[in-house]
């Protein structure tokens, strides 16, 4: 028995590597800590499973009626029952705690993370960058730099999933959700939509294109990147990652609304004039009818009902769509709701404009 255990332990590394092909490539630090935890779970549950099956086999051989004619009259064993309650409990709490530790790293983006907006719509991914450019299907990010996705949906719920980064987050209409990652492997990584969203759900694919420093600079300056020359998705050697619509009947009729060369914040500034916001909200700190935009982003403000709220993307969205829900103390609840009058991209641009007014 001890020999068997020893052999098992010795071969454990080779078993692990044989099964490693069952996981996508770990292309971020978070994915690597995810993998370590995953293998821990595989080993613990593997031991339990083998133990249970082994017990069954031994009982089948030893206690079948042909060799064991009379059963023993036993009703239980308190000690044993305590053992098989307590030991799994301890293991489960270890798993929980470890899982939570990895989760915290997974969801808390570093404060210097670069933000990119993601809009999910049936059936495409649109990415909008700070400088006003946008892309559909392909998400361009720099290597070794933390990137934070600020995501919302224009229609139904989608879910943004990058297997190689072990991150996934639902993209919900009417609110913002976030995902962050710091890619360590240059080249292409697959994006899937993982919340069922209708006809072409399985065609709602995308690619993360991780660019090295010089390529990233080129791309930011508007130079075209030859994506086909970049390394293929390392999880599936021999297969190129798929982007939107390839191989699937694409019914996406919405035309791309690329922002051209003006930045997102500039676009937001223009919108605040066009939509009449500037009549009540200043950008220089002056109090007109409503609060000024200047320097408010990220601060806590006191509301008319006495509570406080942090001004973040979700608060700004709510205050545009349904302004009377949370009115800042000292201001009249006089703004009309803009729900349906501004679209997802416009809310995003206005939010960026407010953020830019430090």
């Amino acid at each position: 028995m001890t020999k068997l255990m020893l052999a098992l332990l010795l071969s454990s590394t080779s078993i692990t590597s044989a099964f490693a092909a069952t996981l996508p490539v770990a292309a971020t630090d978070v994915s690597q800590s995810w993998d370590t935890l995953y293998w821990f779970l595989i080993w613990v549950s593997g031991i339990f499973f083998v133990g249970i099956v082994l017990a069954m086999i031994i009982f089948v051989v030893k206690y079948r009626k042909e060799v064991h004619k009379k059963s023993k009259y036993i009703h239980g064993h308190t000690g044993l029952e305590i053992v098989w309650t307590v030991i799994p409990s301890i293991l489960l709490f270890v798993m929980f705690g470890w899982g939570w530790a990895v989760y915290k790293d997974m969801i808390h983006a570093p404060s210097d993370a670069m933000e990119i907006h993601v809009i999910g719509k049936q059936w495409m991914w649109q990415f909008v960058y700070k400088n006003g450019t946008s892309s559909i299907g392909d998400l361009y990010v720099p290597l070794n730099k933390p990137v934070k996705m600020v995501m919302s949906s224009e229609d139904v719920i989608h879910s943004f999933f990058i297997p190689n980064f072990r991150v996934k987050q639902d993209v919900v209409p009417g609110m913002y959700t976030y995902v962050w990652f710091e890619a360590k492997v240059p080249g292409i990584h697959q994006i899937f939509c993982t919340e069922y969203c209708g006809t072409s759900h399985s065609g709602m694919l995308g690619r993360v294109i991780v660019l090295k420093d010089d390529q990233w600079k080129d791309w930011q300056q508007g130079k075209k990147i030859d994506v086909d020359s970049l390394p293929a998705d390392p999880s599936f050697p021999g297969f190129r990652a798929n982007r939107l619509g390839e191989g699937m009947p694409s019914t996406a009729g919405t035309s791309s609304t690329s922002g051209g060369q003006i930045s997102l914040a500039e676009k937001g500034k223009a919108l605040t004039t066009a939509k009449g916001c500037v009549a009540c909200h200043s950008s220089d700190g002056t109090k007109i009818v409503g609060p000024s935009y200047k320097g408010i982003y990220g601060t806590d403000v006191k509301l008319a009902d006495g509570s406080t709220v942090k001004i973040d993307e979700n608060y700004i969205r709510e205050s545009i769509e349904n302004p009377t829900a949370k009115v800042v103390e000292g201001f009249p609840p006089s703004m009309p709701p803009y729900k349906g009058l501004v679209n997802e991209e416009e809310i995003m641009a206005i939010t960026e404009y407010i953020k830019s007014l430090k």
């Binding site: 009626k65 996934k168 919340e195 729900k339």
Partner: protein, 545 residues
């Protein structure tokens, strides 16, 4: 015997529940729990066949990447019908309403359930709801997935409203059956059948009934709100109307997570009956198993949030739900270990029901352990909404519930019919089911971990081999199930007479004739000891108490 069913009546109408009265009307109007149980069984089996047809269609389309046999819209209808039919029309009523109706009153030593007329009403409510939902097959179909997530389900241009209405109506059947069982267990136990002597199948049905009564109304309200939102445009869930789509997920899983235990607890109850009988040994840790049953039922109400780890719910909620979900694994483990403990130093028989017990333990353990993966919040982030989840819940629902059901149906078949099925054919089918099941669903763990999302009409070519294996497995599984059905149907007519108690069971349903007479017992049974007291002469097969 009570006064109105004198011996004379029994002689006049025949001596068992099948020939007690004749004609189709005598079945459709029956108040006999055994006949109602059989009617449930046949109806559920028809829907199992339809749900299985959709499953085979899904697997056929997924044999190769690209679209071969259907359009994406058709595929989306296939997986929606497969899920909705299997959950609402098959697995939820399968063991409680079909098997439970037949066995529960008999195990209590009662003549019927507490409210026989309500029992029949439950059946017809179930049939009405199921027919309304199934009628959409001939309308525009439904493509929302069985989970009806908003806002997609609000905007979906399909017959979703009728399916929602059907599920809403079937819920009442579930509530009424649950109430009926609770009252029956409280009021109709035979003299001497104390709480500590109840068979574990009864305990399982008791816990299940509590969940049915408490959780189903929440689903009813949720579905009703969704129906109103679809038809009248009230804004509860659609953000365009000021609603919250994630709220729907909370409401939905507040029912549907406990519903998972409506599906699995009765299955565990069946296993707890089979293991001692075929080990010829008292159950190991009776109180622990009964307690674990209630532990699972209790925890089931406060873990729904683990379905929402990536939905955008708060970090704190994820912390709490991940932690509480861990508690599900503890009582589940206690049960598995207790069943193994029962086999230890037993005198094991390997008749078909026991074969299914081994199959159950093998696959259910995998289903349970992979559930722990999904309870760990960070691990769930990568695995959720991929084929890993599909594999996990099929290991629990099919591997657990269907295996236990098949074990139970072979075990109680002689009681239902008085006949014995063909043993070696049944064993052969059992092996096919086991092999087919694992070949179908094990590759899905791997392909899910690699990243293949669920509900995909088409998939990337790198996932092809896993999907091919899965499709071939589904054919083996289907063959095994068809052979089982053939064997049982044929044996109802041509099977050998089984005798009253072929397994030497000690629970009360075996202490009467097979098939049982109208009102179950010729003499009122009196209970003097626990249900699994295998010792002395009773260790051998076929020796009655």
């Amino acid at each position: 015997m009570s006064s109105h069913s004198s011996e004379g009546d029994l002689v006049k109408h025949g001596d068992n529940y099948i020939n007690h009265s004749a004609g189709i009307k005598s079945w459709l109007n029956t108040l006999d729990h055994k006949r109602i149980g059989m009617m449930y069984l046949f109806t559920v089996m028809i829907f199992f066949l339809i749900g299985g047809f959709f499953a085979l269609g899904i697997r056929l389309e997924l044999f190769s990447p690209g679209m071969q046999f259907m359009t994406p819209d058709t595929y989306n209808r296939f997986f929606t019908y497969h899920g909705a039919i299997m959950v609402f029309m098959v697995i939820i009523p399968l063991i409680p309403a079909a098997m439970g109706n037949f066995i529960l009153p008999m195990q209590l030593g009662a003549k019927d359930v507490a409210f026989p007329r309500w029992n029949l009403v439950s059946y017809y409510i179930y049939v009405t709801g199921a027919l309304i939902a199934a009628s959409t097959l001939f309308l525009k179909g439904v493509d929302t997935g069985w989970t009806f997530y908003t806002p997609y389900s609000i905007r979906s241009n399909s017959s979703a409203t009728f399916v929602l209405l059907g599920a809403f109506i079937m819920g009442f059947s579930s509530i009424l059956t649950g109430l009926n069982f609770i009252v029956t267990i409280h009021k109709l136990r035979a003299p001497g059948l104390t709480w500590g002597r109840l068979p574990l199948f009864v305990w399982a049905l008791y816990a299940t009934s509590i969940i049915q009564v408490l959780a189903t109304p929440v689903l009813a309200i949720t579905l009703l709100l969704l129906i109103l939102e679809r038809t009248l445009g009230i804004g509860v869930f659609d953000p365009k109307l000021g609603g919250d789509p994630v709220l729907f997920q909370h409401f939905f899983w507040f029912y549907s997570h406990p519903a998972v235990y409506i599906m699995i607890l009765p299955a565990m109850g069946v296993i707890s009956e089979l293991v001692p009988v075929f080990s010829r040994k008292p159950i190991f840790g009776y109180k622990a198993i009964a307690g674990a049953t209630f532990g699972i039922a209790l925890v089931s109400f406060i873990v729904w949030g683990h379905h929402l780890f990536v939905s955008g719910q708060s970090e704190f909620a994820n912390f709490v739900f991940s932690l509480i979900t861990m508690f599900v694994a503890i009582p589940t483990g206690v049960k598995v270990f207790s069943w193994l403990g029962t086999m230890y130093k037993g005198s094991l028989r390997f008749d078909t029901p026991m074969l299914y017990v081994f199959g159950f333990l093998f696959v259910f353990t995998i289903g349970g352990l992979t559930g722990v993966f999904l309870a760990v919040v960070s691990i769930d982030v990568h695995l959720t909404d991929t084929y890993f989840v599909i594999a996990h819940f099929h290991y629990v629902m099919v591997g657990g519930t269907i295996m236990a059901f098949l074990g139970g149906i072979h075990y109680w078949f002689p009681k239902f019919s008085g006949k014995m099925y063909h043993e070696s054919l049944a064993k052969f089918a059992c092996w096919l089911v086991m092999i087919g099941f694992n070949v179908t669903f094990f590759p899905q763990f791997i392909v899910g971990t690699l990243g293949m999302p669920r509900r995909y009409a088409d998939y990337l070519p790198q996932f092809t081999n896993y999907n091919r294996a899965s499709t071939v497995g589904s054919w083996i599984l289907a063959l095994g199930l068809f052979i089982t059905a053939y064997n049982l149907f044929r044996s109802m007519k041509t099977g050998k007479a089984a005798g009253d108690n072929p397994w030497g069971g000690l629970t009360l349903e075996w202490q009467t004739t097979s098939p049982p007479p109208f009102e179950n017992f010729k003499y009122d049974p009196v209970v003097t000891e626990g249900p699994y007291e295998y010792k002395g002469d009773r260790i051998g097969m076929g020796i009655n108490a």
